[in-house]
């Protein structure tokens, strides 16, 4: 099992990994919640603040022009990373993936959905792709339908035609943040379009770990956050086909998103600007741009290969050490899953598991992972989730195994 990444070299870009926790080196297995940014990202932002910072879009002086150009260039760079050359017109910067979904629901949704319509989600969605639709539903009264998840942790597409009947949108995660399940986007897009619906994708977990191709997969909308993509906090993306953006009403109101304001009303601006009210996350746009450049430098295919190999190693190591005592809630090892391992160990609660793991420096996340409907579906209260990133290697998995053994002793 060789890995295509030079992890040792990569780790040097992440100063946090030099930290010790309770006298042990930190083993960061929580990239699924938020990844660490490399120095390339933090220093790009600091350099921006120290050499260029100015508010965008409104100044004619040199730094304001530069800031505007770099902010707009970030759209293009992010667009390329998603597989499109139309980023300038299709990448809207939000504050996080959650705001992106709220924008989608409360702009596109509010304009297009009536009480006769339906939106199709899945049982494995993150709350970010459920609650905004429920909020809109309370106002508009359309139908929310859910594609069920089978005992094999896959979407059960048996009834898809019926579920899509009369639906205007299918909104689905590319990769489950709990199960690791990777969904067949291209197939789902074709099915949605075949039924006359659009397709929105939650790319929070997929964009940082799998190649993305919004054009090739024929998607309509894609939402994700920078902070899971080795970028900064405070910025997310709504990518949408320009034709959809052009037809969507404004979302948040304020400066920057208007053509004109009178005391008795306003006219909204065109293009991506209509959806970016107020001063945008400028330094953070520089940061996400640096992050996609960094990932592109490594190669997202290599990242995927590396994380898949690491997942295989973890499956084997956990099985060898604990047999049935440790359960991985999600599909078996293979190309249909990502590097997210939702673990339970006997009766030990995930919180306690995570607490014991912390003592050996291992960072995993306990809880419902903002996917309560999915947790209920599987009768789970909480799992301890280990998730891999570009800086993880087999040593990290070995320490995870060591910590789980400690927990087994303490609570066994």
């Amino acid at each position: 099992m060789t890995t295509p990444l030079d992890v040792e070299a990569i780790r040097k870009d992440f100063p946090l990994l030099e930290r010790e926790i309770h006298g042990r080196r930190i083993v960061f297995l929580d990239s699924g919640a938020s990844s660490l940014p490399p120095t390339q990202v933090t220093s790009a932002m600091t350099r921006y603040y120290e050499s260029t910072h100015a508010n965008v879009h409104r100044g004619v002086y040199a730094t304001a022009e530069e800031a505007t150009a770099r902010y707009e260039a970030a759209r293009v760079g992010v667009g390329r990373f998603l597989g499109t050359s139309a980023g300038a017109d299709e990448v809207v910067f939000t504050k996080n993936c959650t705001e992106s979904f709220n924008l989608l629901a409360k702009s596109w949704g509010a304009a297009n959905l009536t009480s006769h319509d339906a939106v199709v989600l899945t049982e494995m969605e993150h709350h970010a792709n459920i609650v905004p639709w429920q909020q809109l539903q309370q106002q508009v009264g359309f139908e929310l339908r859910f594609i069920p998840v089978g005992d094999d942790y896959q979407l059960d597409l048996g009834d898809l035609d019926r579920l899509l009947e009369g639906a205007k949108l299918l909104s689905v995660t590319a990769m489950s943040n709990v199960l690791g399940t990777i969904n067949p986007l291209k197939h789902l897009a074709a099915r949605a379009h075949g039924a006359g619906a659009l397709i929105a994708v939650d790319g929070a977990q997929s964009v940082p770990h799998l190649p993305t191709d919004v054009v090739g997969d024929d998607l309509d909308f894609l939402c994700f956050s920078a902070h899971k993509l080795y970028g900064p906090t405070g910025i997310g993306v709504l990518w949408a086909k320009a034709e959809h953006l052009a037809a969507m009403p404004a979302f948040l109101g304020g400066g920057g998103m208007i053509k004109d304001v009178r005391l008795d009303g306003f006219t909204a601006a065109d293009g991506t600007q209509r959806f970016e009210a107020g001063t945008p996350p400028i330094a953070e746009a520089i940061g996400i741009h640096a992050a996609v450049d960094y990932l592109q430098g490594i190669g997202i295919e290599a990242v995927r290969e590396h994380e898949q190999a690491l997942t295989t190693y973890a499956f084997e190591a956990l099985e060898a050490a604990f047999g049935d005592e440790v359960r991985i809630h999600g599909p078996g090892d293979g190309p249909g899953r990502g590097g997210v391992l939702s673990l339970t160990m006997g009766d030990i609660h995930a919180h306690d598991l995570a607490q014991v793991l912390d003592q050996v420096g291992v960072c995993v996340r306990p809880g419902h992972h903002c996917a309560k409907p999915l947790m209920r579906r599987f009768g789970l209260n909480a799992t301890a989730r280990a998730s891999f990133g570009i800086y993880n290697d087999r040593d990290d998995v070995d320490v995870l195994v060591e910590g789980l053994a400690d927990a087994s002793r303490l609570f066994g």
């Binding site: 995930a350 306690d352 003592q359």
Partner: protein
């Protein structure tokens, strides 16, 4: 793992493994649910108050060792006590749990001394304050109790 042993004291593990007052009470007992929204812990508290006394209390739900043992310890501590005594215990317990938050906030503020003796076995949960995220686990059942008493107008 010195810190860990302070967190998971024997009494706590004992109440976790063998929770006291487990189950639900039928009406007229009052039923209150508590969530720890961030970690998914759930508690269902059945509360029977008669003549200003917590006549009976039962605990259902699921959660981590800290939330479950705290609920178990709480149930044992308040059962049979007057409502006033129970509320006082809640206050003392939450005071113990808030030390960390207070010191974090402003290291110069002197925390008020806590009557640890009044807490009895509950003092075993003291170690939790070193683990701020777990404080919410420890206080879940107590907040649910307060809510229940409030709803009963007791």
């Amino acid at each position: 793992m010195a810190d860990l042993e302070e967190l998971y004291r024997e009494i706590i593990l004992d109440h976790y493994r063998s929770p006291r007052n487990r189950g639900e009470l039928p009406p007229p007992a009052h039923r209150v649910e508590g969530f720890n929204p961030l970690c998914g812990d759930e508690i269902v508290l059945s509360l029977l108050v008669e003549d200003d006394v917590v006549a009976d209390v039962k605990i259902a739900g699921s959660g981590c060792s800290i939330s479950q043992s705290s609920a178990s310890l709480m149930s044992a501590a308040v059962k049979g006590k007057s409502v006033a005594e129970a509320r006082k215990l809640v206050a003392t317990f939450k005071q113990m749990m808030s030390i960390h938050e207070a010191t974090l906030d402003d290291a110069t503020e002197e925390p008020e001394p806590i009557n640890l003796r009044a807490l009895g076995e509950l003092a075993a949960l003291q170690g939790v304050v070193k683990f701020p995220v777990r404080i919410k686990c420890a206080t879940l059942s107590w907040n649910t109790l307060t809510q229940g008493l409030d709803e009963l107008g007791a």
